[in-house]
C-alpha cells in the first residue's frame, strides 16, 4: 500500500488552545477513512492542515509526498467539501457545476447530472435561496463528481434527509468501486456510515486515540454484566473502558475477550453483550464512570 498522507509530530495552536497536539499518522491510497470525534476535537483543523488552509506550528505534513501549502500540484488532486461552503454572490448550482472542471481534472459532468437528478436539485435557483439540505447536496455532488484522488467530506450532509443521505452512501460506494480513490469522511453519524469505512481515525482533544481497521474494531469490545462481585472478580486487572452500576448490578465494557475468557464469563453466570463501533467510540471519548445510586 502507498501512503497518500504522512503526518509526523503535527501540532496546531490557536493562542493558548491546542487544537492538534503532536499527531502522527498515515493515510493509505484507495481507502475510505472515517475521521471521527466529538465537537471541537480537532477534526476540521486537521483537514484544513492537510489541505494547506492552515499553517502548522510544528511537525511535518506530506500529501502525495509533498507539502500541501501553496502547492498547486498537490492541491489540484484534492477536493475538500466543507460543512459551510460559501459561493460567489448570485451563483446558482449550474454555475458551480460549470466551473468545477476548471479545478478538478477528473470531473465527470455526466455523473454530476445523474446526481442532480437523484438529489432533485434545482439547478437555476440562486444558491442563497436553496434550503440547507439542497446546499449540502451541491457540496456532495461536487465531492463525488470531482473524483479527486484525495477527497475530504467534512460533515457533508447538514440538513440532508434520510433518503438523500442513503443516495450519497450508495453513490459513493458504487463510484468508489469503479474509480478507487482515497476518501476521508468526517461525521457524527457513526452508525450510518460505519459499514462504508475501511479504516477509522478517532481524534479526541487534539490527539489520535484510535487508528485502526474498522472491522478489527468491530467486536473488539464486549459488555459484561452481572452482580457486582462476579463482574469485579472476572474483570480483575483488565482495562475497563466504561462502567455502569445500578444497585448490586454492574455492567462494564472491556476490550478483547478470547474464547477461553468467554467460557469463563459464561461459567461465572455473566451476560456478554456486543458493543457497536459507535458505542465503542462514545466509550472511548467520554467520562468512563457512570454510577447510578451508591458510589463505591
Amino acid at each position: 500500500m502507498t501512503a497518500v498522507v504522512e503526518v509526523e509530530g503535527l501540532s496546531k495552536r490557536f493562542g493558548k488552545f491546542t487544537a492538534v497536539n503532536d499527531v502522527s499518522f498515515h493515510i493509505e491510497e484507495n481507502t475510505i477513512y472515517g475521521l471521527l470525534g466529538r465537537n471541537g476535537a480537532g477534526k476540521t483543523t486537521m483537514m484544513q492542515l492537510l489541505t494547506g488552509q492552515q499553517f502548522a506550528n510544528s511537525g511535518d505534513i506530506r500529501v502525495f509526498g509533498e507539502s500541501p501549502v501553496e502547492n498547486a500540484a498537490v492541491l489540484g488532486n484534492i477536493c475538500f467539501i466543507k460543512e459551510s461552503q460559501s459561493y460567489p454572490e448570485d451563483f446558482r448550482p449550474r454555475h458551480v457545476f460549470a466551473s468545477a472542471p476548471w479545478f478538478f481534472q477528473n470531473w465527470d459532468a455526466e455523473f454530476a447530472d445523474r446526481l442532480v437528478a437523484d438529489f432533485r436539485l434545482p439547478l437555476n435557483r440562486r444558491i442563497k435561496k436553496l434550503s440547507r439540505g439542497q446546499l449540502s447536496a451541491v457540496g456532495v455532488i461536487v465531492g463525488l463528481a470531482s473524483r479527486a484522488p484525495l477527497t475530504f467530506f467534512d460533515e457533508p450532509y447538514l440538513g440532508l434527509d434520510a433518503v438523500a443521505r442513503q443516495i450519497f452512501y450508495d453513490r459513493l460506494l458504487e463510484d468508489f468501486a469503479e474509480h478507487p480513490r482515497t476518501v476521508i469522511l468526517s461525521t457524527h453519524l457513526i452508525d450510518e456510515v460505519s459499514a462504508l469505512l475501511e479504516h477509522v481515525l478517532v481524534i479526541d482533544e487534539g490527539r489520535i486515540i484510535i487508528d485502526e481497521n474498522a472491522d478489527t474494531l468491530r467486536g473488539s469490545a464486549t459488555t459484561i454484566s452481572g452482580t457486582k462481585s462476579a463482574v469485579d472478580a472476572f474483570v480483575g486487572r483488565r482495562a475497563v473502558l466504561h462502567r455502569e452500576g445500578l444497585g448490586g448490578l454492574t455492567s462494564v465494557t472491556v476490550e478483547k475477550l478470547d474464547a477461553a475468557d468467554r467460557t469463563e464469563a459464561a461459567a461465572a453466570g455473566l451476560e456478554l453483550g456486543p458493543v457497536s463501533l459507535q458505542q465503542l467510540i462514545v466509550r472511548k471519548t467520554s467520562i468512563p464512570e457512570t454510577e447510578f445510586g451508591a458510589q463505591s
Binding site: 481507502t31 475510505i32 452512501y169 450508495d170 460506494l173 458504487e174 468508489f176 468501486a177 469503479e178 452508525d191 460505519s194 459499514a195 462504508l196 469505512l197 475501511e198 474498522a214 472491522d215 478489527t216 468491530r218 467486536g219 456486543p274 458493543v275 457497536s276 463501533l277 459507535q278
Partner: protein
C-alpha cells in the same frame, strides 16, 4: 449487517448460508466483490476480505479473468462444519443447563420430541 461483529465474517457466513440452502449451486458463479459491496452497502475492501476467507477455506475458487465459483463438495463440507458448530454452541450448553435443572437425559429427549417443529424441517 449488524455492527457488533466484523462485517467480513458476516459476509462469509451469508455466502455459506446461500451455499447450504442451495441458492448458490456448486460450480456456479458467485457475485463479484463489488456486487456484494453495493448489495450489502459495505466497503468493497471489507466484502473482498469476506470472499477471500472462503477462498482460503477452499469453499470458493477463482477462475482467472472470469470470477469466483463455488467449489465441488462445498455444501457437504459446510454442513459438517455447521453441525460441529451446532453441537458446540447449542447442544452442549443445552445439556449443561438441563443437568443444572436436574433433568434426566430421557426427560430432555422427550422435551425435544414434544417441541413443535416446522413441518418436514426435521427428518
Amino acid at each position: 449487517m449488524d455492527d457488533s461483529r466484523p462485517i467480513f465474517l458476516q459476509i462469509a457466513e451469508a455466502i455459506e448460508n446461500d451455499i447450504l440452502a442451495g441458492n448458490l449451486a456448486e460450480e456456479s458463479q458467485v457475485p463479484s466483490t463489488n456486487e456484494f459491496a453495493s448489495f450489502y452497502r459495505i466497503n468493497p475492501a471489507t466484502a473482498g476480505k469476506g470472499v477471500n476467507l472462503l477462498v482460503d477455506d477452499g469453499i470458493l475458487y477463482k477462475k482467472r479473468g472470469i470470477g469466483m465459483f463455488v467449489a465441488t463438495g462445498s455444501q457437504a463440507r459446510l454442513a459438517t462444519k455447521r453441525r460441529d458448530q451446532f453441537e458446540a454452541e447449542y447442544v452442549r450448553p443445552l445439556v449443561a443447563e438441563a443437568a443444572k435443572l436436574g433433568l434426566s437425559q430421557a426427560q430432555l429427549v422427550s422435551m425435544i420430541q414434544a417441541t413443535p417443529t416446522t413441518e418436514g424441517a426435521m427428518e
